[in-house]
């Protein structure tokens, strides 16, 4: 059964505290509570990385939490979206430069949505999660496209040729002429 259609309607959140002050963690709980009700988007706060789609990280990544951070990220199935919640998660914030702090999670894992604020208010959290839902849908579609292209290799003289499909993926839809360096078409596209 294909679950990808329902993924946007019920994304599960994995929340990890990588050294935050608890302020943002409590604002997440507040966002899940009746006043703000993040759960109306189908969001469920789960503690299990293997069932989660959105990785919500708070804290500037302490020396001891970075292994766990990367481990949790790796355990989550694709497609996944990472949200950095709070100023210290985005850049290190007030903790930047302290001896046990790694100045933000984007040194270790790729981040899709940055939410500023110390502490980030529930309104901002909802805004960030809703943006993450769009990114999640986009990532789901990208994966489907890639699968279709790879599953259509051409066969000539008994040799399987994947160059055609690989080219389509690798160039992001540009034709070989456009991909040549300094070609006028490419420059035009980039300026757009």
């Amino acid at each position: 059964m294909d679950f990808s259609r329902y993924r946007k309607r019920s994304p599960w959140i994995l929340h990890y505290n990588a050294g935050s002050c608890n302020g943002c963690d409590i604002e997440i709980l507040a966002a899940l509570s009746p006043r703000y009700d993040l759960e109306r988007f189908g969001v469920l706060n789960s503690g299990n990385p293997k069932q989660s789609d959105i990785f919500l990280v708070t804290g500037p990544v302490t020396y001891r939490s970075r292994e766990r951070l990367v481990e949790l990220y790796n355990q989550m199935p694709e497609p996944k979206v990472v949200i950095a919640l709070g100023s210290c998660t985005c850049t290190g914030g007030v903790f930047r430069g302290m001896y046990n702090v790694e100045d933000g999670i984007d040194r270790y894992i790729p981040v899709d949505v940055y939410i500023p604020g110390c502490a980030a208010s529930p309104e901002l959290i909802i805004d960030g999660v809703v943006q993450a839902l769009d990114i999640l849908e986009k990532k789901t579609k990208e994966r489907e496209n890639a699968k279709r292209l790879y599953s259509e290799p051409t066969t000539e003289n008994g040799i399987t040729d994947r160059s055609n499909s690989a080219q389509k993926i690798g160039t992001g839809g540009f034709s070989p002429e456009e991909m040549k360096p300094n070609s006028p078409e490419r420059r035009e596209n980039e300026e757009d």
């Binding site: 608890n22 409590i26 299990n48 020396y63």
Partner: protein, 362 residues
Amino acid sequence: MGRKIIDIPLGSQHISLLEPIKFRFACENEKIVDVSSDVGFVHRGIEKACTTKFAYDAVPYVVARICGLCAITHSLAYTTAAESLLEGVVTRRAKYLRMLLVELDRIHSHMLCLSHTAENAGFEAMFMRIMGDRESVMDIQERITGNRVQFDYVSIGGVNRDITTDIEKEIRKTLAFIREKTHGYLEEFTTNWSLSLKFKGVGVLTLDEAYRYNAIGPLARAAGLATDVRSETDYLPYNEIGYEMRVGEGGDIYSRNIVRLFEILNSITMCENILGGLPEGEIQTKMKGKPTGEALVRLEAPRGELMYYIRGEGKAMLSRVRIKTPTFASIPAFIEVFKGSEYADAPAILASFDPCMSCTAK
């Protein structure tokens, strides 16, 4: 079948845990026989940064980031210590406003703990109800200070904002609302099967153990140990605003919940008395000079005694800041409670302690 002891880890990332803390339970069947804990996952090095990166007048806003729940207590404890070194006198109005925020903070922190305890009993609806009502406290905090959680309200010399009659009216309305709701919770926590009978006799800390293992805060008061920094110190005029110590009996989860509920009611009364007797005057006094000498301040955070020691040598940078946080002091008592209880109760017992790992690791 022989007696076999199995190690079961809990944390540092776990479904039922908010906090990055790791326990390793040695279990014999379902009984916990031994516990070891590891708390340093969120150590950031704030004590060191307070003496190398930030000048003494910026430190209140840095130490507030140790903990999001008791931020005001942290910055207030530091500020009180720094003011005693600068030999300035804070106006009574500023002191009253500080107390108001500390008590509001205690109310919402205890409500959070109660909602977690309810959630760990499997009573998710109660969790949602308490969290929903807690928002009204957050609202008045936002009205007074401008931010919901990390309100940098206290600064050296006084407070940063004054309250107006509009805000005062709103606070009174909210306090009345919370009082009514708290009486409802009290009924629920004493009569509801999930929250009373299930929690009676679980996670017991006896009076003797509380005394011996240095339990503090609601944990100690639930066991019958009459200890509260608010009644022992005089930085803040708690005796003027109707502070009452509530001591429970039994020392189990049920008793801790009841002590917290009565503390919320007491805090509401205190907040109303503060508004009733708010003195006129300035909210800021100028402090001159640089901190010289050493000072030690104890304050009652929502979780127990918070201690700050600072030493200055007449420079902009302090030479030492030492912070002793409530959860750190209570860990021996935590471990004693876990021994002998069922493994299945461990998350509920842990939630009833209301641990704060961000405080502990700093």
